[in-house]
Symmetry: C2
Subunit: 337 residues, 2 copies
């Protein structure tokens, strides 16, 4: 009796609070309004490997919008074959996150976009000025920047990229259709998984339109400790080698704290966790059950939750390829060895 | 008098022989007819970094169709930051070449496409079987291959990629418009450059629809020795370290022989030559004048020829981005370190 009562109560409140369909428009900062020209420029920059010192790495190299918005790798590869330390989060629906990077160290998509070009193991540009000089040397960029922003600047570059990223939204998952009233959209296993997801407490953190926590002001991240409970998985997947948000803040209270990641399209973004150490979604669900909720999920439970998570795969909008503006008669990366 | 006479004669014959507009349809092999489904599959494969062992390198990494069809680098970068030995030729209009690679070692685009996935410094897959196994593990690929080819195979992969590449054609350069009768399309400098290009003998090799030599049966390459004449440039740009076609055939008569490259869009494909050693088009023209024609071109001549070469930049067709088929709940490159 008690179990049934609790179940009904949670589902009733859950439908109203924890579960929401994905909006088509994300938060837009007042100082970076959207425009077609800005989005188009941002798309070109996003796909342009000339943002890296040797012309080999673009934003899209690690956050592949033709695929899952990630690179499907444990951790990414930057210039000169260098490996990064953390798994590339998906760019899809990142506009709905209130803080960026695994440790939330960037408040906005604009701030995030300024990181990789100057990161020596990612794109390796020596300075903001070097990036601006290169963009200015490409007539097609110079003209677009001048028309849209009145100048070529590192800030403007980040604004254009962020504007493009705010268009990367995947609506109409079977979950979204279900939530909007089409109860036939999700199969029985997925519906059972959704109920279980709420019942055992996954939705305590993975709530909101992006399943990444409650709606918070941009810049205010929603963090949780991972792993919360000790288990065999800590050693097996080396979950504590990286100190998480502590690395950014050096505040002891941030030790092993991580921004709660989105679960939208999570079935497509393997491998999982900040270090990409878990290669399959069923295992990731098992690990989360144990480390966060101290539950040992059985195979049937895992199967249901995975079916629910698969229902969060949305529709990826058709896009045209950008054309990257050229530098006639010379190469900007041709002299880079 | 003699000079004028010769000039007129050459221009008259040149208009009929050396210079031709780019057709919209390239040669299509009988055993690989085009279809919309095959082209779409080929586009997905072309952009898919999972054709490389660690998921970091796609065909597009070095032959960027959003840009010039090259990577704008002296030589390309493959997996683990490894550098190749030769400059990446543009994929645009490669369907009009009668042999592929700088040394012509592949007869067709199909043969060419089979090279990079297995090259240990490019995409690094251990075997054809490993590629086929990976493609078969991606349901969206398996279904498309079965529908189009009746099987997943390495040959079928190459056919699909080649079919896509045969759509990568850039018509309507100002040169093409001029040749088709719009005499205002090219500016005076470009027209003067075109005349000079023929007068001094550049068009002796750079003829035909693709400026890569006479029309030959597919598989029969058109080769020239480079450098033909000794000059200061041999050492300055290290032009003889690579033995060219000899490396492929071990035939002494192929020593320093190279397939004559296309000049279409050449203004966009810096840096130049098989080793990418020359970063600007004016310098490349100077080098060619000396090494191939034993002429020291003056600045005015170089300027005119460059203006002509700029008139060979065509229109790049708008394309939709492919969507790469996914592997739900797991990553095929997630376990690759």
């Amino acid at each position: 009796m008690r179990k049934t009562f609790l179940f009904v109560t949670m589902m009733a409140s859950g439908a109203a609070s924890a579960f929401e369909a994905l909006p088509m428009v994300p938060p837009i900062p007042a100082d970076n309004p959207m425009s077609a020209a800005k989005i188009e420029l941002g798309k070109q920059l996003y796909f342009d490997p000339r943002l890296s010192i040797d012309g080999t790495v673009s934003c899209n190299s690690c956050h592949n919008v033709m695929a899952t918005g990630t690179d499907s790798r444990p951790t990414s590869v930057g210039i000169d074959g260098q490996r990064g330390g953390r798994n590339a989060p998906t760019v899809w629906n990142s506009a709905f996150l209130s803080a960026q990077f695994w440790d939330g160290r960037a408040a906005t998509l604009e701030d995030q976009a300024k990181g990789p070009p100057l990161n020596p193991i990612e794109m390796g540009m020596p300075s903001e000025k070097a990036v601006v000089d290169r963009l200015t040397a490409i007539p097609g960029y110079k003209d677009q920047f001048n028309n849209i922003f009145g100048e070529v600047s590192y800030d403007a570059m980040a604004k254009a990229i962020a504007a493009y990223e705010r268009t990367l939204i995947t609506p109409n998952s079977t979950f979204d259709l279900y939530i909007k009233g089409n109860k036939a959209a999700m199969n029985d296993n997925a519906v059972a998984g959704m109920k279980l997801f709420e019942e055992i407490g996954c939705s305590g953190c993975h709530s909101g339109v992006n399943f990444s926590g409650p709606e918070l002001p941009i810049g205010q991240g929603f963090y949780q400790m991972f792993p919360s409970n000790e288990s065999k998985y800590t050693a097996k997947y080396d979950l504590k080698a990286d100190k998480g948000r502590y690395e950014a803040t050096k505040d002891e209270s941030d030790m092993h704290m991580w921004r709660v990641p989105t679960l939208r399209n999570v079935a497509l973004t393997a491998p999982y966790f900040h270090n990409g150490s878990v290669n399959t979604l069923p295992e990731a669900v098992r690990v989360m059950g144990k480390t966060q909720l101290d539950r040992t999920l059985n195979d049937k439970q895992v199967e249901k939750i995975v079916a629910f998570l698969e229902s969060l795969t949305g529709e990826f909008p058709v896009q045209t390829m950008p054309r990257l503006p050229d530098t006639s008669t010379t190469s900007l990366v041709g002299a880079v060895k």
